[in-house]
Each structure stands twice: as C-alpha cells, then as structure tokens.
C-alpha cells in the first residue's frame, strides 16, 4: 500500500517538484499516474523507490516510512516492489535468466528456488524459450517483458512501471498493458506512470493527474476525465 500525506519535494532549495501531494493506493489497485513533462512524475517515482526523500510530509510504502529510512532498510523495501522502466534496465552481458535471477538471488534464495521462480515468471511473460538469450538478441517488447518478469519474480505486493510502453510499438504496447492487467488480477498493486493518453483511455482504471507538482484530478474515466 502507498500512503503519501502532504508530500513535497524541493530541489536546491527553490525548485518545487512536488507540492503537498496526498495519495493513497490500496492493495490490489491499478492506478495510472499521468501528466505532462515536468509534472513531478519522476520525482514521485524516486520517492516511492527511496532514491530520494521528501522535503516535507509523510510517505509510507508497503509498511516502510520513506522519511528517515535507514540505508540498511532500503534493499528490504525495494524487495517488496518491482520496478519497470522505459529503457528496461537489463544487464546486457547477462542472459534473460540471469537478469531475472539477480532480483531473487539478492534476497538470499537458494539455486533451486531461483530456478523454479524464474521459470515460473518466464512462463507468465511467455519467454521461457528465450531464457538463454542476451537482451540485445530480443525485441523491445521482449526486453520489456523480461523487465516485467524481473519485477515479478519476488512476488512483490507492488509493481511500479515508469513509462513502460515508451519504447514500444502499438501492438507491443497493448500486449504489455494486458500483462500488467493480468498481474493486477493476480492481486498485485500496479502503478503505471505514463503520459500516453491512449493506453490510459483504453483501460478503465483509476487515473491520478499530476501537473506542476500537484494532483489536479484523481478518479476513473480516462486521461482527461
């Protein structure tokens, strides 16, 4: 669960990226966070993943307070969520299997558990037959599915996707969004940060509209509501 109360973020003392944001995302929800460039979406993502701390306010993700979070607790928080990026962020030199396995190996899992879970998520994203390939040998859509599989492998409570379809063609975009929908139906909270109106409008989900660091709208009914 995500709970932000009066969260603000100011860079260098004067650049206000977020202004007193209140946001609550319940377990099992599917939420789009939308808005134009410079709206504060990336800052929000960085706060949720504990890359940066809010300047003001209270923020909780999966039971961890993001204000004053100890360095030793950051990995533990990150294991409760999966993050998918526009540029996939896969390690080029590792195979598909190794890329996904990394996310579970860091939790201290043994080899058998790693093998079972990686194979399981590879089946979910339909890439079991390409487990030994390197990312460069895959299409953009396939690379994004590997990134999603990596985000899924620890069975996280929350998946955050930052512009997950930014590098994909319309067909791959639909495929990816179907996958997120499927993951959400399995009980995982999904937060998709995007500025693509079409994918938001195609799915009747909750939409949080951010502009100039403030939440302007929050409800269902498409990008423009």
């Amino acid at each position: 669960m995500i709970e932000l109360t009066g969260v603000s973020k100011t860079y260098n003392g004067y650049i206000k990226a977020l202004r007193s944001v209140d946001l609550r995302v319940e377990d099992g929800e599917f939420v789009f966070i939308v808005g134009p460039s410079g709206a504060g979406k990336s800052t929000l993502l960085k706060i949720l993943t504990a890359e940066i701390e809010p300047t003001d306010g209270a923020a909780f993700v999966n039971g961890y307070s993001l204000v004053g979070l100890k360095a030793a607790d950051k990995p533990l928080l990150r294991r409760t969520m999966g993050v998918v990026f526009q540029d996939f962020r896969l390690i080029d030199k590792k195979t598909v299997f190794e890329n996904i396995a990394l996310a579970i190996r860091v939790t201290g899992a043994g080899n058998r558990e790693i093998r079972d879970k990686v194979n399981s998520v590879l089946n979910i994203v339909g890439l079991a037959h390409k487990s030994k390939r390197k990312p460069a040998e895959l299409s953009g859509g396939e690379q994004q599915r590997v990134a999603i599989a990596r985000a899924l492998v620890n069975s996280p409570k929350l998946i955050i996707a930052d512009e997950p379809t930014g590098n994909l063609d319309p067909e791959r975009t639909q495929e990816t969004m179907r996958l997120f929908n499927q993951i959400n139906r399995m009980g995982t909270t999904v937060v998709v940060i995007t500025h693509e109106k079409s994918i938001v409008n195609d799915m009747a989900k909750r939409v949080v509209y951010l502009e100039n660091g403030c939440i302007l709208r929050d409800g269902t009914g498409g990008y423009n509501q």
Binding site: E51, V106, G108, N154
Partner: protein, 295 residues
C-alpha cells in the same frame, strides 16, 4: 543466502564478469602486473646488491697470531677452541711455515724463505671469518682476552664503514619499494575505477532490485581478487623470465656482482606476489566501489 551456494555464485559471477568485461579487466591485470614486475625486478636487484655487499663484507677477516710458546700441535688444536666461540663462521689455520712461505712470496722470491727457514720469525696464525659483521668488535675483544693469542688484527673501521653503507642501501631499497607500492596502488586504483565507472549502470540495477551493498561489493571484490591473483601470476612468470634469461646473463659480465638464485627464493616471491595481488585487488576494489553504492 545459503553460504555454499552464495560463495559459488560470487566466484562464478566474478569469473564470468572478468570474461565479460575482458578489455577493462585485462587492462587492470596488465597495469597491476607491470607494477608488480617493476617492484619484483627491483627487489631482486636489491637482494643481489645485498648479497654482493655481504660477500664483500665476508672478506673482512680477523687474523690472530698465537704466542711464540705455542707449539705446532697446540696451535692446530686451538682451532677447535676458536670454532666453539660465538659468531665464528670459519677458521683457517696458517702454520708458521705457511706464513713464512706467503710472506716470501709476497715479497717476490724464495730467498727470504730460504734465509729464515731454520729460524722462522713468523708465528702460527688463524684467519677467522665471522658470522655477523655487526658483532665483530665483541668477537675481537673476546679473542684479545685469550692468553694464547699474541695479537689480533681486524679492520674495524672498514667494517663499520661497510655496515653503514649496507644500512643506507637497505633504507633506500625499502623506501623505493614503498614508493613503488604506493604508485602501483594509485595506478591500479585508477584502472579499477574506470572499470567500475563503466559498470555503474549495472550497480544501479542491482540496487534497484534490492541488492544490499554487501552483496554488490562481494561481487566486485571477488573480481578484484581474481584480477590481483592473475596480475601476480603474470608478473611472477615475467620476473622469472627477465631475471634468469636477461638480467643475470647481462650483469654476469660484471664479475663483482653476486646473484641470488631464483630457485632459492621462488616460493617466497610467489607467496608475496599472490598475497599482495589478492590484497591490492580486494582492497582497491573495496574503496573504489564505495562511491557507487550511495543510491
């Protein structure tokens, strides 16, 4: 994580990363090997100089002359007494007759020998080599105190000057090795920093998926250790080849120099190189990766 499987993973991952980033890691290995090689060659030369100095020093012998009343048999037996003294490496007996023969040969003819053969004025003597030159004064004093000895001849001033020279040489040698080791640390640190910089994205990904600093560090430290061990091995082989097949044959032309046999010190060099390689690789990687872990 289960310890055996995590150790296996880090070793496998370290070896695999070494292979995958072979250009950068090869550069690191070569830089470190070059530094070790320079230090190794310098150490060998330093040891040669020390050996040469020691051999020259050993030529500083003490000569003792026995009292006139000591007869031939007692004079020869006195050698056993001398050998039992502290700091005595070897003794060589020179009888009165041999002494006279040497004396006349030095002066250029048998005439002197023939003139004095029946009334030999030369005393029985011993040439003594000491074990530790720095204790030569004590040894001389102990010899002087013996009643059967009439006179002791020892070049104490020469020995002192020689000891001073050896101390200065040792100091310079140690200082140069320390400086070279520091230069090596800086050079290798920069190379490993470049390697790590090229992989900062990988570190960021590892952090993003929930890896602890310890986990990320372990992976890089294993790699650093492999780089260090490989560099040490390369430097060791090159040192052997250069020393045995280039340095010794070339410098052998200068007859003054004594050479340490590589075969006599190979195990020490191998152990020192491998330990230093491991230490350099791991410690430098540890400090280099530190700044990339602050995410």
């Amino acid at each position: 994580m289960k310890k055996s499987s995590s150790l296996r993973y880090f070793l496998k991952d370290g070896a695999s990363n070494f292979r995958l980033h072979r250009v950068m890691t090869t550069a690191s290995v070569m830089m470190l090997a070059a530094c070790f090689l320079v230090i190794g060659i310098f150490l060998m030369i330093f040891m040669d100089i020390n050996l040469t100095i020691d051999k020259v020093g050993m030529q500083n012998e003490i000569v003792i002359f026995l009292q006139d009343y000591v007869d031939d048999a007692s004079a020869e037996d006195f050698g056993y007494t001398l050998k039992e003294m502290e700091n005595i490496e070897s003794v060589t007996f020179v009888s009165r007759d041999e002494g006279l023969r040497d004396f006349s040969e030095n002066l250029g003819g048998d005439d002197i020998y023939n003139s004095y053969a029946d009334d030999n004025p030369i005393r029985h003597s011993y040439r003594i080599i000491v074990k530790d030159l720095s204790l030569i004064e004590n040894t001389r004093d102990a010899l002087i105190a013996m009643p059967k000895i009439a006179r002791v001849r020892a070049s104490i001033d020469t020995v002192k000057a020689f000891l001073k020279f050896r101390n200065v040489a040792t100091f310079i040698g140690v200082a140069l090795v320390a400086i070279l080791a520091m230069i090596a640390a800086v050079v290798v640190s920069n190379t490993i920093r470049l390697t790590t910089f090229a992989r900062r994205e990988e570190i960021a990904i590892m952090k993003m998926v929930g890896a602890t600093n310890r986990f990320i560090r372990a992976s890089f430290l294993v790699e650093g250790g492999i780089i260090g061990l490989l560099a040490a091995s390369v430097a060791y082989v090159l040192l052997f080849v250069l020393y045995e097949f280039l340095l010794v044959p070339e410098l052998s032309l200068v007859s003054l120099i004594s050479f340490v046999e590589f075969g006599a010190v190979w195990h020490i060099f191998l152990a020192v190189f491998l330990l230093a390689g491991l230490f350099y690789g791991i410690v430098i990687s540890f400090f280099t990766i530190k700044k990339y872990l602050r995410v």
